[in-house]
């Protein structure tokens, strides 16, 4: 067994600081998944998923309903047992060393199963007691303040809570032990826009502190904003694994060229360029790949303005969704 100091040395940043002394010496990924498969009889909910999520990364897990996102999360937390494959959290096998693996995790489920006859405070205290990590009451109070869940509300029974308040409580219980890994299933579902903003700020803070975040979401703008990398699941299979920036390059960018005077249409566009609209003084094109060839084509023309619009993650993902639909 490595000493706590050795573990600190081996694993950079927050991961090392917060891991138990028995953490493996080499720096493992925060989450490592190898050939993970889950079958329910003839139905394959997840097929041969292989994925590594590094410490400090914010990872978005995307897919339509039933794609296998929640199944993956539940497998990682040993709530489901895999048909085949392996998974580990900070080097601890999710099943044979499940307690050690889950000791470093803060989990926000998609559907919150709170007891409605308990108060918010009772719920937080109870769940805090089940953690191995000590809950700092000051930090918890900060979380409550940021998510605008005052003491008055915390002392009310959950049956009096709105869906948004329950979601806030869910976020607080996941974050309250300040875990090195957060697994969040649809975290902003039911939050109003202001609270979503507070949540993104909170996420940015824990990320700065070195925490790893693995989140599933339907909200593509949210994923685009907060995630470093994404994986897209389709019918239980991963069809895309990429950084958010790279994924944008998978669909053509939109270019609008405005001319000072009338010009003739482009005679010969380079490959990957497509003219979508043309007037005597304006061209609208889509450009897949580098834009240099287009700039060369524009040389000598009376260009007044050139607008380049980056593709949005939504377009990339929707492309995959549409393929699934068809």
């Amino acid at each position: 067994m490595p000493s706590r100091a050795e573990a600190r040395e081996a694993i950079p940043g927050r991961c090392a600081r917060d891991l138990p002394a028995s953490a493996p010496r080499t720096s493992p990924p925060a989450i490592s998944i190898r050939g993970l498969t889950k079958r329910y009889g003839p139905l394959t909910a997840l097929n041969d998923l292989t994925l590594d999520i590094q410490c400090g990364e914010v990872f978005g897990f995307l897919g339509l309903n039933g794609a296998g996102k929640t199944t993956t999360i539940r497998l990682l937390l040993d709530l489901l047992r895999p048909s085949s494959g392996q998974a580990s959290i900070f080097g601890y096998d999710c099943w044979t060393q499940g307690l050690e693996a889950r000791a470093s995790v803060g989990y926000l489920p998609g559907e919150l199963g709170f007891y409605l006859d308990l108060t918010g405070l009772e719920t937080l205290d109870f769940l805090a007691g089940l953690n191995r990590r000590r809950v700092d009451k000051t930090y918890r109070q900060q979380l409550c303040d940021r998510l605008e869940l005052p003491d008055r509300d915390l002392r009310r029974r959950l049956r009096e809570y709105s869906a948004g308040m329950k979601r806030k409580l869910g976020i607080i219980q996941a974050f309250q032990a300040n875990p090195p890994l957060l697994i969040l299933d649809e975290p902003t579902d039911g939050l109003d826009p202001l609270m979503q903003e507070s949540f993104y700020c909170l996420l940015a803070d824990v990320r700065r502190a070195g925490a790893t975040v693995f989140m599933s979401s339907h909200v593509l703008s949210e994923v685009e904003r907060v995630c470093d990398r994404i994986a897209l699941l389709r019918k239980g299979e991963m069809v895309l694994l990429s950084s958010v920036m790279e994924s944008r390059r998978l669909v053509p960018r939109r270019v609008r060229v405005v001319f000072k005077e009338n010009v003739n249409g482009p005679l010969d566009l380079p490959p990957g360029h497509e003219l979508t609209e043309m007037t005597p003084r304006m061209w609208r094109l889509t450009v897949a790949g580098p834009i240099g060839a287009l700039l060369a084509q524009l040389e000598g023309l009376p260009v007044a303005d050139l607008e380049l619009e980056e593709a949005r993650l939504e377009e990339v993902v929707l492309k995959y969704y549409r393929e699934e639909g068809s």
Binding site: L77, R102, Y107, P109, E111, Y115, F126, L127
Partner: protein, 271 residues
């Protein structure tokens, strides 16, 4: 173990109103039973009461009828009164299927996503059920004692401590037995399904035991009924406690609990 204690404390806290209300109700009804026994005793109507019993009931109760038709026998009737037993069985089944309920509501997800071993859920449930059984029997005893202190005629013989203890132990073991059955079903199925199956099996077993008492040839199959090993009438008649009967009931309970541990360790935790 801190987590297991927290789980128990939470479950007890949630069940305390139900347990408290049921316990107080049982104690009050038992006091009322003592009051009725006092009235019958004062009126000297035990023989009259005996004569109105149907032949079938006489066959079920057997030679213990004479002992039951006394002040002490009526007071002890709480330990084999079908209504009381069914109420206590319902409580035991409700508590034993708590894990199924927690899986359905998703609360189990919140617990087990933390460093909590799955078997704590079953250990907590066993502790809760056994605690509830002891509490209910304790409340019945309190009701008996209070009833006797207030209503018992000065010359009427009270049930002995030994007899009351043996009856309480027998009933407690029967309840633990059915809690084991309910827990095994509750670890595998949804709460509604587990409760229904256990209730139907218990009801069938009770009918089977009644039938075998009236018609001994049914003994070949009646040994399967846990009620076959629940013998309160004999205890009221002054016979000694049959330890082997208790062992059979505890064996069923232990098998049920073990199955529950096994099933919960293997299954997917899903709604």
């Amino acid at each position: 173990m801190k987590g297991a204690f927290l789980l128990f404390r939470l479950s007890f806290k949630r069940a305390r109103l139900l347990l408290g209300a049921t316990g107080v109700l049982l104690a009050l009804v038992q006091m009322l039973r003592v009051r009725i026994a006092e009235k019958i005793y004062d009126a000297g109507q035990f023989d009259q009461l005996n004569s109105v019993l149907s032949t079938y009931l006489r066959e079920i109760i057997g030679s213990a009828l004479g002992s039951i038709m006394t002040f002490s026998g009526i007071v002890c009737g709480v330990y084999f009164d079908t209504g009381f037993i069914l109420a206590l069985l319902a409580l035991a089944i409700a508590l034993s299927t708590l894990p199924a309920s927690e899986m359905e509501t998703g609360f189990a997800d919140m617990i087990l996503a933390r460093p909590v071993p799955r078997h704590w859920i079953i250990t907590r449930t066993i502790a809760l059920v056994l605690f509830a059984i002891v509490l209910m029997l304790g409340m019945i005893m309190v009701g008996t004692l209070a009833g006797l202190e207030i209503f018992a005629p000065p010359d009427a013989p009270w049930p002995t401590v030994r007899q009351t203890g043996a009856l309480a132990l027998t009933l407690g073991t029967l309840l633990a037995c059915w809690s084991g059955v309910a827990m095994a079903f509750g670890a595998a199925y949804r709460r509604g399904v587990a409760s229904t199956i256990t209730s139907l099996v218990a009801f069938t077993a009770l009918i089977l035991d009644w039938a075998r008492r009236a018609w001994p040839p049914l003994e070949w199959i009646a040994w399967l009924s846990p009620f076959r090993y629940f013998s309160p009438y004999e205890l009221v008649a002054g016979k000694p406690l049959q330890v082997e009967n208790l062992l059979v009931l505890w064996a069923i309970a232990a098998t049920g609990y073990t199955l529950a541990y096994f099933i919960i360790s293997q299954r997917d935790i899903s709604r």
